[in-house]
């Protein structure tokens, strides 16, 4: 029958992942984000006038916020493709509207399914492994929320305590942690085959080139589009390698 043949190779858990119930379950938390934005916005607008900001300044700030958000949000949308492909529409939408970014959510999901020996993109991922990915993203994301919820009032003191000497180390430790983690992620991909390796290398190379151009010519939009472009080109190279040379290991 036609409908059996047209069944996609999408893993079975995708029915659950794209179900109405999951869409519904994402509504409350996304509402909190919008609610907070509305509360803060109202108060900032009225207190802004109090402290001497003009209507024009407030409007210009608002307008710039809207305009500047459109480009990056579309770029996030392209990045969301990878997340939709692996965890479904609702969870992808929620994770990228609340807390997350593609750079956190993908690895967090990968760490979830890897508990069962799977890797994102495997077609036989079980519903349990998928649920582990959801838990992994959710619990992993709470760290930022808790620190910002209870740490923000103390941030100023903490910053000063860290002192000058260690101030310089903060960005270095952050970048080193990121490099170590992504080195681990990408070596796992390199181990899976030639097309994956080509995709890793291309993604990195395109990113380097685009960021270099953006820096030299001061092109902000290029920075916003760099990751989206790098992943699309990396994808194309991966496919090209798959259909031409296949894999060597």
């Amino acid at each position: 029958m036609v409908w059996i043949e047209s069944l996609p190779v999408v893993p079975a858990y995708m029915d659950v992942a794209n179900s109405r119930w999951l869409w519904l379950s994402t509504v409350p938390v996304v509402s909190v984000v919008l609610l907070q934005a509305a509360i803060f916005f109202r108060r900032a607008w009225s207190d802004g006038k109090e402290i001497g900001l003009s209507d024009d300044q407030l409007k210009s700030g608002f307008k710039t916020g809207v305009i500047s958000a459109i480009g990056p949000a579309i770029a996030v949308l392209v990045g969301m493709l990878a997340l939709i492909a692996t965890v479904g529409g609702p969870v992808a939408w929620m994770r990228l509207s609340v807390i997350g970014s593609v750079a956190f959510e993908l690895p967090a999901a990968e760490l979830g399914v890897s508990q069962f020996g799977y890797s994102l993109g495997d077609s036989d991922i079980t519903e349990t492994a998928y649920a582990t990915a959801v838990w992994s993203m959710t619990l992993g994301g709470t760290g930022w929320l808790l620190v910002s919820a209870f740490g923000t009032p103390h941030m100023e003191k903490a910053r000063q305590k860290l002192g000058e000497g260690k101030d310089a180390l903060i960005p270095i430790i952050g970048a080193a942690a990121m490099l170590g983690a992504f080195a681990y992620f990408l070596t796992g991909e390199v181990a899976s085959g030639t097309p994956e390796t080509g995709s890793v290398a291309t993604g990195g190379l395109v990113m380097l080139i685009l960021l270099q151009i953006a820096d030299n010519k001061e092109i902000q939009w290029l920075r916003e589009w760099a990751l989206g472009t790098a992943m699309m080109v990396g994808l194309l190279v991966g496919v090209a390698l798959q259909v031409t040379v296949g894999t060597w290991w």
């Binding site: 710039t64 760490l111 209870f150």
Partner: protein
């Protein structure tokens, strides 16, 4: 309440309202909303449990959480601290609730401060960035919501080769790109991290990590992350690396 003295331009006029009313209000509601979001973010996980009766074994959840904490735990503290000077107190609550900070919230806040002609770090700057970030949250949530609905069906309509391609080759490219983004600033650290991770991955694949309990994936992560941090710290003390200039 207090008068809005137009006299002093910039920081000092209206500091009273900002410090005594705006910030306490923001702290009160910021704490509540972000803490509430912690609970509500469990929505999909709870739906999987209650509606579909899917609950992973505790050890799988724990294992995944430990791996995520080992990889990203440091950012829970490092990122709020690092971005705080630019975002201000309201911006910190909002940005860490809504995510996409470096690629969306920070640029929006900075651009708005520029266009409204206020200084970063001042009360006026903080108010303008609050407004800009709120605006960006509206745009982002709407665009992604429409996109997620539309893209799900688009994805399912794609031919097999491309579905497979999206599944298999988009993620490695993201990993490569992010690695390159940070590697630009710290090529030596990137080199060290890559060699370390490759060595650990090969040890894992060849079964040499069998002395550790369970599936010792976590050893690869811990050694890759903390090994790279220790190497970077050592390099910094040797004067081999330094943070990039703020652009």
């Amino acid at each position: 309440m207090s008068g809005n003295t137009d006299s002093v331009d910039g920081q000092h006029s209206g500091d009273g309202v900002y410090e005594t009313e705006f910030i306490p209000y923001i702290n009160k509601w910021g704490r509540r909303t972000n803490a509430l979001a912690v609970l509500l973010s469990l929505g999909p996980a709870v739906a999987l449990l209650t509606v579909f009766d899917i609950l992973p074994p505790t050890q799988a959840i724990t294992g995944a959480f430990i791996s995520v904490a080992a990889t990203f735990g440091i950012f829970w503290v490092v990122e709020p601290l690092s971005y705080y000077p630019v975002l201000g107190i309201p911006g910190t609550y909002m940005a860490f609730l809504s995510g996409n900070i470096s690629n969306l919230r920070l640029p929006c806040a900075a651009a708005a401060q520029e266009s409204a002609d206020v200084q970063t770090g001042t009360p006026k700057g903080s108010i303008i960035s609050t407004i800009a970030i709120a605006a960006s949250i509206g745009v982002n949530t709407t665009l992604l919501g429409v996109g997620a609905f539309a893209l799900v069906s688009t994805f399912q309509a794609l031919p097999e080769l491309w579905q497979n391609a999206l599944d298999s080759y988009l993620v490695p490219a993201v990993f490569g790109a992010i690695f390159a983004q940070f590697g630009r600033d710290y090529p030596k650290v990137a080199g060290a991290g890559f060699v370390l991770a490759l060595a650990m991955t090969m040890l894992l694949e060849l079964g040499y990590l069998g002395v550790f309990p369970g599936y010792p994936l976590y050893m690869v992560i811990i050694v890759s992350v903390f090994g790279t941090i220790l190497i970077a710290r050592w390099m910094w003390k040797q004067g081999m690396i330094e943070p990039p200039e703020e652009s």
